[in-house]
Symmetry: D3
Subunit: 333 residues, 6 copies
């Protein structure tokens, strides 16, 4: 069973799998070689040292490998450090990703099924076929379920792209009949595909970062390319519909300064932009508040990207929230 780094205490005997984040060798004062490791899992990082049988224990694994280690946690200069006496490299398939990376709290399979249900409701045959080309492709599905939605701002965990996509699509579903004259199928399709390019923009194999093509081209263009490629496989896909769909994808950031090469020019594009921006921001704030509000404080730390503080009034909890939610749930039935 996994032992998490933030649970390890002085003098514990540790026997678990960690990700090797750094690996280098050092020299003791007496002139002997030793090995310095930085070990990580989703709960944090700690130093590891191999003082004996250095050569033998160092073989067989490299930086970025998952390694099964055994050893004892000792305290050195006020920090814990693992003195390692056993190492064994693990194959990637043997290791549950969720032990090593933050992962969505909601169940990924459930979310995926909910999204599939919505897709089934898209009646326009061209858009329906297009969505199916994506969501019947196992390799795509695997990446789509795993990807985070962002490196920094919102849904920054495995499954985050799926969670954000589903959340946005559900918002669209709730709001879409509020206004007249909207093309529902177009809106659903665009909301499902809008951040598609993030499966290529972000790399999340060992840590969340931008891929080269992510930095150089960006998820908007990467997504357009994937959609264009699939549309190319549907010879009857109408040109006008293709342009409209791509316009929604291109313009969903809403402004040039946020990386959209076009601003929204149709009602559907305007709505997609607002709901996407709102969903990302709400999730971003909620994630931030989880770790960035000191106990006893009603104010968060300063959020650098949003350039402001957020307020978490105690009041909210006290005002018999539960009653009211029931109430409003009923009224919707």
């Amino acid at each position: 069973m996994k032992t998490y780094i933030n649970e390890i205490k002085e003098n514990d005997q540790v026997d678990s799998v960690f990700l090797v984040k750094e690996k280098s060798s050092g020299l003791t004062k007496t002139g002997n070689n030793y090995l310095k490791l930085k070990l990580g899992d989703r709960s944090g990082e700690m130093e590891g040292r191999i003082w004996t049988s250095v050569e033998m224990l160092s073989k067989g694994f490299e930086k970025d490998d998952f390694v099964h280690v055994k050893g004892k946690a000792v305290s050195f200069q006020e920090h814990l450090q693992l003195n390692i006496t056993h190492t064994e490299k693990m194959e990637e398939g043997e290791v549950p990703y969720a032990d090593f990376f933050p992962v969505a709290e909601k169940d990924i399979e459930n979310m995926f099924q909910s999204l599939i249900e919505i897709i089934k409701q898209v009646k326009n045959p061209h858009l329906n076929q297009l969505l199916n080309l994506f969501f019947e492709d196992d390799s795509f599905i695997k990446r789509f379920k795993m990807a985070p939605a962002s490196k920094w701002l919102h849904h920054t965990y495995l499954g985050g792209l799926l969670e954000h996509t589903l959340s946005l699509t559900q918002l669209v579903l709730k709001i879409v009949n509020h206004y007249e004259g909207l093309n529902l199928d177009l809106l659903f399709t665009a909301s499902i595909l809008h951040d598609l390019g993030k499966i290529d923009e972000l790399s999340y194999h060992r840590s969340f970062d931008y891929s080269d093509e992510g930095r150089l081209l960006g998820h908007i263009v990467l997504g357009i390319e994937r959609v264009e490629e699939r549309i190319g496989q549907l010879p009857d896909f109408p040109k006008d519909l293709s342009i409209l769909l791509k316009h929604l994808l291109l313009s969903h950031h809403g402004q040039y300064s946020w990386g959209s090469p076009k601003r929204p020019m149709t009602l559907e594009a305007v709505i997609l932009h607002y709901l996407d921006d709102m969903d990302a921001k709400i999730n971003g704030i909620q994630q931030f508040l989880k770790t960035q509000v000191r106990e006893g404080s009603k104010w968060s730390a300063y959020h650098r990207r949003f350039e402001q503080y957020f307020y978490v009034p105690a009041l909210l909890e006290e005002m018999e929230l539960s009653d009211k939610i029931e109430e409003t749930k009923k009224e919707e039935e």
Copy 2:
């Protein structure tokens, strides 16, 4: 029965009530006095002239009065002009406003009842009392039902403030359970009161314009003052709740540059800002498209405030829209 200006044709005998928008006197080439009027109703404006009995017919009314006139429509320099032979000032009570100003297409009483129903669901006793102080005050109700929501951009018609307030509150209702941990009563109350100050900001007695206090103080501050005054009548209203509510009102424009002295700092304030902005923009575009798309074109005229064109694809209408709406309606039951 009202004869509308845009229905008048050359040589018509006209007998109807108009608003006098300008009144001045002129001199014919032969040195006789005549009276120049600009007449208006909700359908447009036209020139009026009094050539005979000038002194007598000119008495009894001024600019900005409603006047019952009789006369004949003649053509002068390619424009129609009314040669007036009878004038009679009308009292304000005798005249239906909707003949003279654009008015919401939706029924005002129906919209108002829908809003009252939502207000009843606000369970927090302080917020409920506060809302009742407003919505049991007939003088307030009368102005609230009449006011437009904006001079330029969106819901620019009598009843527009009510329509926008209801639409926003319904959006809140639809979305509010999508996210956890929101204070629903606070959100409903803020959405109902958010543009309150517009009943003072805009004057819509004779034409839509800003009042002096509207220009000098703005609807955000005017609304805060009205809310603060009512809260002063509720001695037990919690200070914290009052600050939170006013924060939502203050920050609902979202940015300094849009006239909000504070940016949204709570989840509720963030959501209120996005939905308000979206609702105003969607209505603004829809209104604009009604008059600013030339027949046969898929592109609107250039929208100066939004600094862009909008696109109205024929496609939207062709894609069997009706089927789909049924479908999605069912799924919500």
Copy 3:
């Protein structure tokens, strides 16, 4: 032979082909039908009237057709107007475009050959193949030779895209060895393809305007799609090279606010952006100065897009320019 509108004088008998820009019918004071036309060619526009045999002469052509007309130029309210007595619709193939639209002063075939010569120097086999896929495709070549480079700002004439592309590529050729470590083939290829999407962004069939996909997607994305499609035909094209090339195309506007979804991140991308921007601006100013400097003035009219005046010092002409050009030409040999 073409008679240009700006050459027509009162009482001239006109016998030439014009583009019909507007067509509508009117009613004379005596109640007879007549036909109103707006005729155009590259030199300007004039009114046309058909007073007799209206029905017969009106048949067979519509707005946006090229029509051979005969008639007499008469003066009406200080403007010339053509009283037409003969009409005959022309097929598009029969009409030289250059009579009706502004066209590059430089010879299009010569410019095209110069560009082909530069393409031949691209040695990287992948980039070379990619360029050949474009420049051996007659349908592409035809559009590429014809397209203007912009609706408003620079090279706003038939052949303008080619002229700008060649000019930029020649600038690259001159400068590229000035700095060390640049990938020349990449720079040449990107400069040749950088505005490719403009053949789809602009429509220039009857007047210069944006196409629907031009407005909704923009030439940057349209160009990327064309390049991506061609690269798809080259199975061995390296992924890295493809990303780099597309990065140069995406980022050539240099800034988000100018519609680039990415800013230049490589030395080649930085150079491409500067030279493209400079070439467009210099041509834009030169075109502007041709018509927007009043005789005797050293100052141009106000340029709205650039938000400034330009200065054309007489001094420049007086300072024996010719001598110096010879001089500097020599030194380059």
Copy 4:
């Protein structure tokens, strides 16, 4: 008598009152409890330790209390630390605030009297009454005298709000006759009340910080509310005058981006904005220069908010300044 922290030297016996800024317990290597305190006064902070009679000495005071302590200053790891042998909590009234917070250099009572003198000159009976409502309210006066004018930028000390208000009002007094047609009473009243809301915006009980309502509503709106409340007590106060006064308060930051929901629209509002901004900036620079210019340097450190360096030329001091001041003083008599 107060012993200031920055005067304490190694081995001093200290017997004085300090503010307890942090209080927590620790464990010695031998397993005994001890108490860790952070002590503060206006001159700085230092560590305090209670090693013996820990339980007894720890009782009776908490974080944010003023405590009379006795103990000996010892050096630990190059820092002084107070080994405490006696503690006694002080009541707030017993403690002079000025020992613990930076305080205006100018005498607060003198400044207040000067302001009262100016208030007496306001002849408009409504404005005069309004000012009196504030300046005859002891509770208000107490807070107004104590409040700083800003957390970061200018007059960041007790009495700073009063000092800035007086300074601005004196500037108004000096300049107001320079221009014709100004409403002097309005300008005086607005300058006296312009930053009123800062007594609610900032909390300065234990440290300078924003209050919840300060962050959520801001001093501009808080001030408006206080003024509106007082005007409500004056039934004859003219509506127009009230709007004008509130406009000056609302717009005194001058720009949306600086948190004013309205820009100045009257001559008085324009002047108030300029003089307020100038006075705040000059004081801000002067305060900054006191601590942020290294000896021997003519350049200040980088000012982050103003995003620049300031220059303090030696020259200024050398140029017989005193003579000149006499001179110009004379000329004003």
Copy 5:
């Protein structure tokens, strides 16, 4: 005696001097030559025609000459037009400029003497000498007295530069002792010289416009050049003082975006910027209000440069202004 254009009525015999703003020839329907003039003075412009003795009356004057004309005012197409029967060119010295251009309301000589008095108080010998170099130079004085301060925004009349310079210097005089540690001589000198370059930037010989060097270099740099030239004539002028003075001149616009290549870095520079900006803006608004407030309105027209409306409350006049001014005057004695 001068007859002003806005006083001329139909059928008047006119005998006065005007500025010829345009001069061209036309052809009557009967084929005769006539001369078209545009005549101007400070009150407006009107058309002039010479129908007879055209050749003789046309000789001897050109565009931009002052010409004594005689003729009769007739009405043509609703406009007055002068049928001229006599022309005589005037020498420039014979013509009072103030008849032809707007001129400061305050007496130019009085203002100049007031400025000279302030200059005398500058005790620093270097700065005093520098000022004297300018203000003992008759050619400079003549231009300095005549120049407007701006083409568009403020003090846009002959004598405007002097008026603004004096006003700013008087503001400096009033405020300068309010703050400690300012170098008064430096501030006075900079305020007197700050807009010096405007005598070169603006041409105001026939109309207010920018000179070539004004547009190409700007008054800030032109002023620096004039100051630098004079300092070059004072061999003992301290380098440090010269840099400081020039810094105040360079930075007085306060921001890069307003054309200052440096932002204010000393207290004196900060104050100069604020007072200059305030004085220009107040005068700009006052000038604007004189012509841009419709009778009966409390709101000005929209001010394009300032991008806002201004408010002129009736209230101001009613509140016994005169009493109060007396009051505050006394208190200053």
Copy 6:
């Protein structure tokens, strides 16, 4: 021979010249005086200590002197420190600057000769004379050859100003015939003189920093002053030409926000701005990439001024670059 700081190892006997960057005295625990030095050369900095004969060895040199020291490198708290036993001050002439500051990689004399060759080609006698006034002045030449071009961004080494000036002028030479109608002599002269003021703006005697006049006036104005002074020595220099030249110098930053008080208004000014900006940016990126790309990475560190990352594709090196350079070189012959 120079021993560089980054070559010194523990226990080395050091005997070399260093720049004394800091000098202060300390007290050992036993109460003895010692001297603390910070020593520097172009390779880095290290601590120096004088423990014995302190008084004698401390005499004769101060901070900012070059001093010949002898001593032994010892390790103290993981850092090397020089225990000094001999000191001797060096005269400035005895010390090669390049040992202490970064210096251009290209040969300074060669670059200077190349620039002189270009100057000879300027045929306009006035501009030629002006350039000669500068480039025949030994004192100017010495400073011009030594100065860096910037403190932070580009060409930040001795000789950098010369290198950037030559590079820009060569770019001008390559491009200038690409466009018609340019005044070549004006462009060459402006490119040679454009950053002239940097010899006064930056001080680079002991470290690269801004001089007082650099910060207060900036290199643009300082350069204008130097040019104006020289033009004053050429009585026949045409006024128009002087204005044009100065306009190019003033506007070469291109935008107000980059410190240009005027934007480019002539074709030459536009070109100068683009090429200058490009050359500075390319050099800035190239310098940055030399130190700010971690081994094995294709991405640079984040560039704070440019606010982005840069990409260094391995690809570039692999694609037989050498062949192609030959190729393109040939083609230019």
